[in-house]
């Protein structure tokens, strides 16, 4: 019986830990995603009319930019909803 209670408590603690962890990294994760998005935009922004670095810099980094490009794409797809996401992040209701 005690074993079962102990197991349940541990499971509960795990859930609490997981929730706290998720909550604590939520902000950093969004910040990271936005930084990666900005990195891609700076490098390849000429596509949307932003001034960009000399072409050879962008081209030399291009082979390693797969993740940043995916992020840039997903952020641009959800641009209309970004305000909502920010409101959710900061718990503004």
């Amino acid at each position: 019986m005690i074993k079962l209670i102990k197991k349940k408590i541990l499971k509960f603690m795990d859930i609490v830990k997981g929730t706290l962890q998720a909550k604590s990294i939520e902000y950093v994760q969004v910040e990271l995603r936005e930084l990666e998005n900005v990195f891609a935009l700076i490098l390849l922004g000429s596509f949307i009319g932003l001034p960009s670095p000399p072409t050879s810099i962008s081209l030399r980094l291009l082979p390693y930019m797969a993740r940043e490009l995916l992020i840039m794409q997903s952020v641009s797809e959800r641009l209309d909803d970004m305000l909502g996401e920010m409101a959710g992040l900061f718990e503004i209701t």
Binding site: E31, P53, P54, T55, S56, L70
Partner: protein
């Protein structure tokens, strides 16, 4: 880096006589025993015309110690683009299936390609000389001022961009590390169906590593360009107000970049003992321009080359002009 050799850039407005001055200087160097290479980077070549001989894309012998190159602009841009498009085609190789890879060739018309290709050519010649130590002096006859200062600004501009990108990249890596610390594991991402672990320290991040590599490559060139023991810029002007004012703008810009400008040549100065009435206004304007040169470039060595009744062509004529450049040789 081998810093034993010297690099001279002759800069000025189109038509002021940069090529003539650069070629005369190079001949004087060769006569003094310096192994010299003169390279024309001006798309409107006239180095061969001035030397009165055929100058090719490979170093052509002019005198015992003097070799000349006229850079083939089309070939140079094509080579630069080939390197770029090969990289793109490597990444997007599948485009070959649709025969779409040839569209990549439109890169040729992108802004800035000419400047980059010219800079790469300068780097190629300098690097080759660092390795082979063939020449004591490299003389570059450059395109008209506007293009030249854009070329010379490229390393500085690239360094500013790379520095900023490195700062941003470090912030990204810091955030990744922070998440790793909390979760106790590497961040994973799915790219093209594969699960990858993302780098969180600069030494593991391929983007940061590439940025660092680029920084050190460009910095080495920039160090050379701003090293006044190696590089000298010689401004060439005519005794007219407009070329002088343009040279002054270029001088100020190059100074900001830290590129050492050391001398000004006033080329085609009309020197006649008795001035005919028809030329009096012209000579007064010339004197005004010379006064302006003395005022604007007082920190630099100012050299005067007279106007010759016939256009100087060929080694002997140029050797005659090189006698006026004595002050330039003192700087060697």
């Amino acid at each position: 880096m081998n810093k034993e050799f010297k690099v001279y850039f002759f800069v000025g407005k189109g038509g002021v006589g940069k090529t003539t001055c650069a070629a005369a200087f190079a001949i004087g160097l060769a006569d003094r025993g310096y192994r010299t290479l003169i390279t024309s980077l001006d798309p409107a070549h006239n180095l061969g015309d001035v030397l009165d001989m055929k100058v090719g894309e490979e170093a052509t012998r002019v005198l015992d110690n003097l070799y000349a190159i006229e850079v083939d602009f089309d070939k140079m841009i094509a080579k630069h683009l080939k390197e770029l498009s090969d990289k793109i085609k490597d990444i997007y190789g599948y485009l070959r299936i649709f025969n779409l890879d040839r569209y990549v060739d439109t890169l040729r018309h992108s802004p800035g390609v000419e400047e980059y290709a010219t800079l790469e050519k300068i780097i190629e010649i300098i690097k080759k000389n660092m390795k082979n130590k063939e020449y004591d002096v490299l003389v570059f006859d450059t395109p008209p001022t506007g293009l030249t200062i854009r070329i010379m600004a490229l390393p500085t501009i690239s360094l500013i961009w790379i520095k900023k990108l490195m700062e941003l990249r470090l912030k990204i890596l810091e955030r990744r590390k922070a998440i790793e610390r909390i979760t106790g594991e590497k961040i994973k991402a799915f790219i093209a169906g594969k699960e990858l672990e993302l780098a969180s320290i600069p030494e593991e991040d391929p983007i940061f590593k590439e940025l660092k590599k680029m920084y050190s490559e460009i910095n080495a060139i920039n160090d050379l360009l701003i090293n006044d023991k190696v590089t000298s810029v010689v401004m060439v002007v005519n005794p007219e107000l407009l070329p002088v004012l343009e040279a002054n703008r270029a001088y100020e810009f190059l100074k900001k970049l830290g590129i050492p400008v050391k001398s000004v040549i006033i080329n085609k100065v009309i020197e006649i003992p008795s001035i005919p009435d028809e030329l009096k206004v012209k000579i007064e304007m010339q004197n005004q321009a010379i006064r302006k040169v003395n005022e604007l470039f007082r920190e630099l060595t100012i050299i005067r080359i007279p106007f010759f009744s016939s256009e100087p062509r060929g080694v002997e004529d140029l050797r005659n002009i090189s006698k006026y450049l004595e002050d330039l040789y003192k700087g060697l």
